[in-house]
Symmetry: none
Subunit: 503 residues, 2 copies
């Protein structure tokens, strides 16, 4: 076949694969936001079947051959060569898994997620425990089919999947820095006593919260013609395409800042995909950013912009108008201090910026120990609780505020959590670079979030996932990744907020 | 192959076909309830691709052969024989259509729907007219590929597609009865003057409406573990499976009864599917009920139960609590009279129970004459307007409130409208049969809607679409279909409501 014919064949593959993927993306989104409880009885086997179909399609010898040829075809365009090479690299991870093993695992993961939900509602880890065991076994079995199986530990294989270039040695260094630098700081702050944030826990009706979200998203220049906001148990972002970026939140009527910061956070994810260049919009690079890179954009929005005083100079009047009784007496400074206050707490998604990486550290240590066979799923709830006591000085009293709080392990996403902490660290470095070009506070204060979005598009978003994380960081900042930007940011910010320098 | 092997092959086909269908059902539901405006840029070509895949799958020679063999295999179970025969019968309608003809017609139908929308907005039938002509020609051409082409008129072929066993001779009898019996009654009522229903048009906030719907659905024993309520531009029901039956509504803040009766109506559709027997839940019979049969269940809920005074003896306090300012002074009797009032109007979807079948009659007469070549699409707007004047005594002043009001003809759904009137008539007969076993008013009054649902399950729902409409009516009522139950119900009800017997 000529390259022209091969390219045509490749386009047909792309349409077919993207049609299957979109169908499944829609079904997963529906499952998490809309579908009634019992729907899984019928849906899950069919969704697993489609997963299998897509697996067959992307693991056909013909497709591999096509990718191999095109990735090296000198008369093919550069983007296609780069795209096919990237797909091939990722497919090599699953290339040798027998289809029945893959489908069985997919169905297990679905059932496990449903079991987690049941366990969560029943507040009972023992319902989830057998599924967690099976998912770990299943995930480990999948790894045995890889070409690189045995070249490093199973957990290192997983870490690299979510963040290319990372391994437990690198993460150990990163988390040790966090442990050494932040744990003492957190302890100092605990001794200092609490900043008053009691007004965040008044009654905030969900209908009003929903209206406030719409206005905040307008401030963020969220494009509602190419995106939506819905509700789900656990906030998330799902990018169906460049023209359809969806975020979810959940409304807590007794915690004002929960939905606000989850919406700002998820808007960061959605904006990343929405701003991928048109050239890459229908390529593999539209959605293959590393997890750490993606999290860096959500954390940029949530923490470095959303918790900035200047952000609230523009938006606090909106909140005071929406909740005159609850916030009428609260000054801007009181509000900004409250949303930045640090207090050790049990729920990761509600954690403040400073204690957040400790929540991740705990998950990292547990995952690593599980995969290295140092601990088992038995009594894992107690392991969890003890680590919270050790690092944060508080102990969960039940499973819902303990080990069952996150959905991630239920579908086998091990090695994913560490990227959450990494994302915050990348973001600190991006913000440092952005400051060289933009007066960030000026943009926030004057409702020119579009300028910030433009900077992110130009230096990060437009590339999609076409660069490795390390390369992308260098492109955007002119430096290699350096976690000290993150640590220094946290130390400076919290020293100032809690007046620790004045002691 | 042995029958056992064939049955296994058949199970694989079923899983594959149902997986594709569910994926597309989810995508269409998402499109109508959730997806942002621009999402179609990426979704539509992929959805069309999946439609094509499903067409190829269900029109493969191997699949036809399998169905033929199994439908006659004496050692296959009876349900499989019956199911394969039913699928084959339906597939034979499209079996010989060349894929390019099918695709060309699909594209024509899409363009025609777009033209209808343009014409609707421009309020100008002439924009739609050429497309209507082409769609009728295209639909007629598709019929020429059928095995039964020429055995009866084209219009009769279409009527039978939507309601197996029906033809224009039967429909003529049915609509003549409606014309003779109801037109004089409607004229009498017009002379009597209007019942006051002005309070239905006060301001009813959508948030409160949404809460009321939830309570009404609880009263209807709607199973929220196997179903949901969402919003869409036009209310509809989508049955994903026995375990996932979804209804939608739209909230009009200046018309109280709109969402109430659309929710009760769609709950009737959803309950039909939710109560199909477990044995049939994953068969073709789960969802192949005739249009008339399905409409009979929604109309049973909406009209015969939902507009019953006893229904509101149980539920009117809920409305008065929800809307004390709007309904505090309105008595139960005033409310029940208002929701049952009859006034000739131009828009079918807003018509009352008594004038509704006349709207259908008009469409039936026009469709039949178009397909029999008695009239053409030229000046069809004037034909339409004259019929409204003749039957309802009012003449549309423009196309938007006249011939352009419904979307159905634009995509070629000819022969579908008549089932709307038929459904109401079936329902009257079902209610008559139900009264022999149940004190309906007692059930409604005492919030025992479960007893009504049980009766419907036992006599109708559990069978799904496994019986022909005529057989199903006999099973449920012990009699053949008799439209007099419907006519008599309307005559008695409206004679009483408008005190026509006291003249």
């Amino acid at each position: 076949m000529t390259t022209k014919e091969l390219l045509q064949q490749y386009e047909e593959y792309k349409l077919k694969i993207s049609a299957y993927s979109l169908a499944m993306t829609t079904m997963y989104f529906d499952m998490q936001t809309t579908a009634p409880k019992k729907s899984g009885i019928y849906r899950n086997p069919r969704l697993a079947y489609l997963e299998g179909e897509l697996f067959s399609l992307t693991h056909a010898q013909e497709y591999f051959d096509l990718l191999e040829t095109l990735s090296k075809a000198e008369d093919a365009d550069e983007l296609t060569r780069k795209e096919t090479a990237a797909i091939l690299k990722d497919l090599n991870k699953t290339r040798n898994i027998p289809k029945d093993v893959y489908v069985a695992y997919s169905e297990l993961a679905l059932n496990s997620e449903n079991a987690w939900e049941e366990a969560y509602h029943a507040n009972d880890y023992s319902i989830f425990e057998p599924y967690l065991k099976k998912v770990i076994e299943g995930k480990s079995k999948l790894l045995t089919y890889r070409d690189d199986y045995g070249t490093k530990s199973n957990y290192d294989l997983l870490l690299d999947d979510y963040e290319p270039g990372m391994n437990s040695e690198e993460y150990d260094k990163f988390f040790n820095l966090i442990k050494e630098e932040l744990v003492p700081l957190i302890h100092k702050i605990v001794k200092k006593g609490k900043i008053d944030d009691s007004f965040l826990y008044k009654h905030y009706p969900r209908e009003i919260q929903a209206k406030v979200m719409k206005e905040l998203m307008d401030y963020l220049h969220f494009d509602f013609e190419s995106g939506i906001l819905r509700e789900s148990l656990h906030p998330f972002t799902s990018s169906f395409s460049k023209y359809d970026n969806r975020i979810t939140t959940k409304y807590l009527e007794d915690k004002l800042d929960s939905s606000i910061f989850s919406v700002i956070h998820e808007s960061g994810h959605a904006t990343y995909n929405a701003q991928v260049s048109d050239e890459l919009a229908e390529t593999y690079f539209f959605d293959n950013m590393s997890m750490g890179m993606h999290e860096s954009q959500s954390r940029t929005f949530e923490i470095y912009l959303g918790k900035n005083r200047a952000f609230w100079e523009a938006n606090y009047p909106l909140l005071q108008n929406a909740y005159p009784e609850q916030l009428g007496d609260v000054t801007l400074d009181q509000f900004v201090d409250a949303i930045n206050a640090s207090t050790p707490s049990l729920i990761r998604t509600e954690a403040d910026e400073l204690t957040y990486p400790l929540h991740i550290l705990i998950r990292y240590e547990i995952e690593k120990a599980l995969f290295n066979g140092e601990i088992s799923v038995e009594h894992l709830d107690e392991v969890w609780n003890s680590k919270y006591e050790e690092y944060l000085g508080i102990r969960p009293e039940d499973d819902r505020t303990g080990i069952l709080q996150d959905v991630h392990w239920s579908d086998g996403s091990f090695g994913y959590f560490p990227t959450y902490a990494l994302g915050s660290a990348y973001a600190a470095q991006f913000i440092h670079a952005m400051r060289k070009d933009l007066d960030i506070e000026d943009c926030l204060r004057n409702s020119r979030f579009d300028l910030i979005k433009d900077w992110l598009k130009e230096h990060i978003h437009k590339y999609g996932g076409s660069n490795l994380p390390k390369d992308q960081i260098f492109i955007a900042t002119g430096e290699p990744f350096d976690p000290h930007y993150y640590i220094n940011h946290l130390k400076e910010k919290y020293t100032r907020l809690y007046h620790l320098d004045k002691e």
